[in-house]
């Protein structure tokens, strides 16, 4: 049988290669699961098929014709539809208006309400939502129904391939079942379905075929029935990882930070751990496992539901209601999104570095010399300490955020993806700096989506999955397989 969709030698890079010589086949009437760790290239592939990104090179053939969409509408015209992870409904418009936003039926510039309503009913019926009033506000719907409305909009054009990227992340069990019924019907109609998810139990239920992606390549394709979860996990992790081990075990002091029973809403559930002076403690897990939220809750950036934070020697409970309390207690946060949450972009290194150390009434006359000395120490490349940091590279920006906490002399550092978007040289410099800080007796908690990074840097690694801290590994215990398996464990039955 000739495949419905054939992908050959697909390449895509964003500074680093994300898809390398990627090939893939999808048959009509098949639900094909794509699995892989963070950054394996699943979403990039989906976005290329749907015309949201364009490939650097490679060939895609759909139903015998070349598929090279320039934007989303090209892909839809060719018959490929993507249901995104995030919702794109305008909450204050009606369901019907959302469905037909791009081409509202109109007469003389006025929207023809009657026609709009009828067409919307037809579209909603296709996803089993015929009972909804097309005139009601889209924002009033539950997340699951909103997702189906998005799908209804996508299905208005004749489509051959439907791509779903983590469609069930926000759905309840019932809504998931409804979605699966639709998937089965479409499969029976001969459509091809690409299903991206890390929820193994769902894949077992719905997928016919599974492909494992790792580092931008497809490493295996098999019928779902013939693959064991263990096998998939091992393939996702990879075996030949070159891990630059710790040069020497770090001498550990007393406990510097103890987190007990921390919960925030549904994102972080009963997380407990402790970090010693001089220790680098890693938090691993899938995107959305609750690692960022854990750090933010410790730091007081988000509200805690339950949980106590103890610091210092001897340990004492501190009441952190907002970041100012945490900073006063000697805790620092290097946020995930440094542009949004870390930097004063139009200002220079001087003001950015000084931000956490402003004291007294009048600005210190040492500001410039302090910033200059940190600039030299961390080798920040800028024309002057007044050059707006928005004009600097990601690595230099991240060094400036770190410089802020060096100046403040924080003794507990919470680092969220400290090397994201940072070039190789700056990465190495940041690793070096973090090791030095630990050697000085500071306690570090590092969140990273790169397992190799954590294994190279950390003394212990805890794995979070679906909001819970599921397992903690010592340096002699962890392997990429074990970490990956633990990361998926919250999603297994």
């Amino acid at each position: 049988m000739t495949p419905l969709l054939t992908v050959q030698a697909l390449h895509k890079s964003f500074a680093v290669p994300v898809l390398k010589n990627f090939d893939f086949q999808l048959h009509a009437g098949e639900v094909h699961a794509l699995v892989g760790g963070n950054g394996a290239g699943k979403s990039t592939f989906a976005n290329i098929l749907a015309g949201l990104l364009s490939a650097d090179s490679g060939r895609i053939t759909l139903d015998g014709k070349t598929h090279a969409p320039k934007h989303r509408r090209d892909a839809q015209a060719n018959g490929i539809t993507l249901m995104l992870q995030e919702l794109h409904l305008l909450a204050t418009l009606s369901i019907a208006e959302n469905l037909f936003l791009h081409e509202l039926p109109s007469r003389l510039g006025f929207v023809s309400k009657q026609c709009l309503r009828e067409e919307a009913r037809k579209a909603l019926a296709r996803v089993g939502l015929q009972f909804l009033d097309p005139d009601s506000e889209a924002g009033a719907l539950g997340v699951g129904q909103q997702q189906l409305v998005v799908l209804a909009g996508a299905l208005m054009q004749e489509c051959k391939v439907i791509i779903l990227d983590e469609p069930t992340a926000a759905l309840t069990a019932n809504e998931t079942e409804v979605l699966f019924d639709h998937l089965r019907r479409w499969r029976a109609e001969g459509k091809g379905i690409i299903y991206i998810s890390h929820r193994m139990e769902e894949l077992r239920e719905i997928a016919d075929t599974v492909s494992v992606l790792r580092d931008g390549q497809r490493v295996m394709t098999k019928p779902m029935k013939e693959s064991s979860t263990q096998e998939l996990v091992n393939l996702m992790a990879g075996r030949e990882l070159a891990v630059a081990a710790q040069s020497h075990p770090r001498p550990k002091g007393e406990v510097a930070l103890r987190v007990t029973n921390l919960s925030t809403g549904s994102l972080v559930r009963e997380v407990s751990f402790e970090v010693k002076r001089g220790e680098i403690f890693g938090l691993s897990g899938l995107v959305g496992a609750g690692r960022t939220e854990t750090l933010r809750a410790i730091f007081g950036a988000d509200a805690r539901e339950t949980g106590t934070i103890e610091i210092g020697a001897p340990l004492r409970i501190i009441n952190i209601r907002q970041p100012a309390n945490a900073v006063r207690a000697g805790i620092a946060l290097v946020p995930e999104d440094r542009k949004q949450d870390g930097l004063l972009l139009p200002l220079g290194m001087r003001q950015n570095t000084l931000l956490a150390s402003l004291k007294g009434w009048f600005a210190s006359s040492q500001e410039a010399s302090q910033a200059e000395s940190l600039r030299n120490k961390l080798d920040v490349r800028c024309h002057s300490i007044e050059q707006p940091v928005e004009t600097l590279s990601g690595g230099n920006q991240q060094k400036i955020v770190l410089a802020r906490w060096l100046l403040r002399d924080a003794h507990i550092l919470l680092l969220d993806e400290p090397t994201r978007g940072v070039d190789a040289a700056a990465k190495e410099a940041i690793y070096q700096l973090l090791r030095e800080l630990a050697d000085q007796g500071k306690a570090l908690v590092v969140v990273s989506s790169e397992m190799q990074e954590l294994m190279a840097l950390c003394d212990r690694i805890a794995v979070m999955s679906a909001g819970r801290l599921v397992q903690t590994f010592n340096a002699d215990e962890w392997t990429a397989e074990k970490l990956t398996e633990a990361a998926f464990s919250g999603h297994m039955k």
Partner: protein, 312 residues
């Protein structure tokens, strides 16, 4: 480029606009380049300069205060009431007036911070309420205070400038020192530039915002005294639209409406530009409608020019 050099360039650019205006009006009217003209400009300035300094502070933290014109009228009405009806001495009436301004600003800040309502809306509400308060206090009538307060606005012996002008200069300088030399100023700029990052650096933005709105209110109270002194009367209709002149002066001076950028001295130069324009247009015989057309055009042109210069 050092921040000092960059600031100096801002001053020079605005001073050039000001000089160009003076030269233009000087060539159009032979009475313009006289001591009398400059005396009258100096006499008009204090109220707006004080209001605009407060506005600059609020704009820098990413807020806006639309109520300053009405708060000025409310505070001015209080001076009239206390001095005419209750025979309070000047100094205590002045203190009460500033306290009134503080209270209005504190309410603006508390509602903005406490209920997370945009300051545009909160101060729009205060604009109406303070005006209503001014009418209530004065029974909608102008109260004449006479000589007791006029001394403030009258030029000092042998000089062109009045005590009110000196007061306004002091406020501008204090604003400049606050923004460039103090820790609070650093924090204000940080809050206006990126509130989220500032909070995550351990600085609570809430007390800073509260304080800045209160300062803007207090300065509106201070401006009210200059206003009353110049008129010799407290007028519940005073200061209508003055919040917009204050915003215009700040914006001409390069203050960003999205927060994080602004200078008290540049705003003062903006005030001088507006005052010179008004005085000059009056002298060359422009009608009131023409004055407004031209002033409006100059505001927009100044901001466009500022944007072009910053990109060079």
């Amino acid at each position: 480029m050092s921040s000092f050099l960059r600031r100096s360039l801002d001053y020079v650019a605005l001073a050039l606009i000001l000089l160009a205006l003076v030269a233009l009006f000087g060539s159009l009217s032979d009475r313009f380049l006289t001591a009398a003209t400059f005396g009258s400009i100096a006499n008009r300035i204090p109220t707006l300069a004080i209001l605009a300094t407060g506005m600059t502070l609020v704009l820098i933290i990413g807020g806006i205060d639309l109520s300053v014109g009405s708060v000025l009228a409310l505070a001015g009405s209080l001076v009239g009431l206390l001095m005419v009806d209750y025979q309070w001495p000047l100094w205590s009436a002045v203190l009460a007036t500033i306290a009134m301004g503080c209270a209005a600003g504190l309410i603006n800040g508390a509602v903005t911070v406490g209920f997370k309502v945009p300051s545009f809306i909160v101060t729009l509400g205060m604009l109406e309420m303070a005006r209503g308060g001014a009418y209530l206090l004065t029974d909608s009538k102008t109260k004449y205070l006479g000589t007791s307060v006029e001394g403030l606005a009258r030029p000092l012996a042998g000089m062109l400038i009045s005590p009110a002008f000196i007061l306004a200069l002091a406020v501008v300088l204090a604003g400049h020192v606050l923004l460039t030399r103090t820790v609070l100023g650093r924090k204000m700029i940080a809050v206006g530039t990126n509130e989220s990052a500032t909070r995550l650096a351990g600085i609570d933005p809430r007390p800073i915002k509260l304080l800045v709105f209160t300062m803007a209110g207090a300065l509106a109270g201070l401006a009210a005294i200059c206003h009353v002194a110049r008129l010799g009367a407290s007028d519940p209709n005073g200061g209508i639209g003055m919040e917009l002149s204050a915003i215009a002066a700040a914006v001409i001076g390069g203050t960003s409406l999205s927060g994080g950028r602004g200078s008290a001295i540049c705003t003062f130069l903006g005030v001088l530009i507006i005052a010179t324009l008004e005085a000059g247009l009056a002298q060359v015989g422009a009608t009131e409608p023409m004055k407004r057309l031209i002033t409006g055009g100059v505001i927009v042109l100044a901001v466009i020019a500022d944007g072009i210069r910053k990109r060079l």
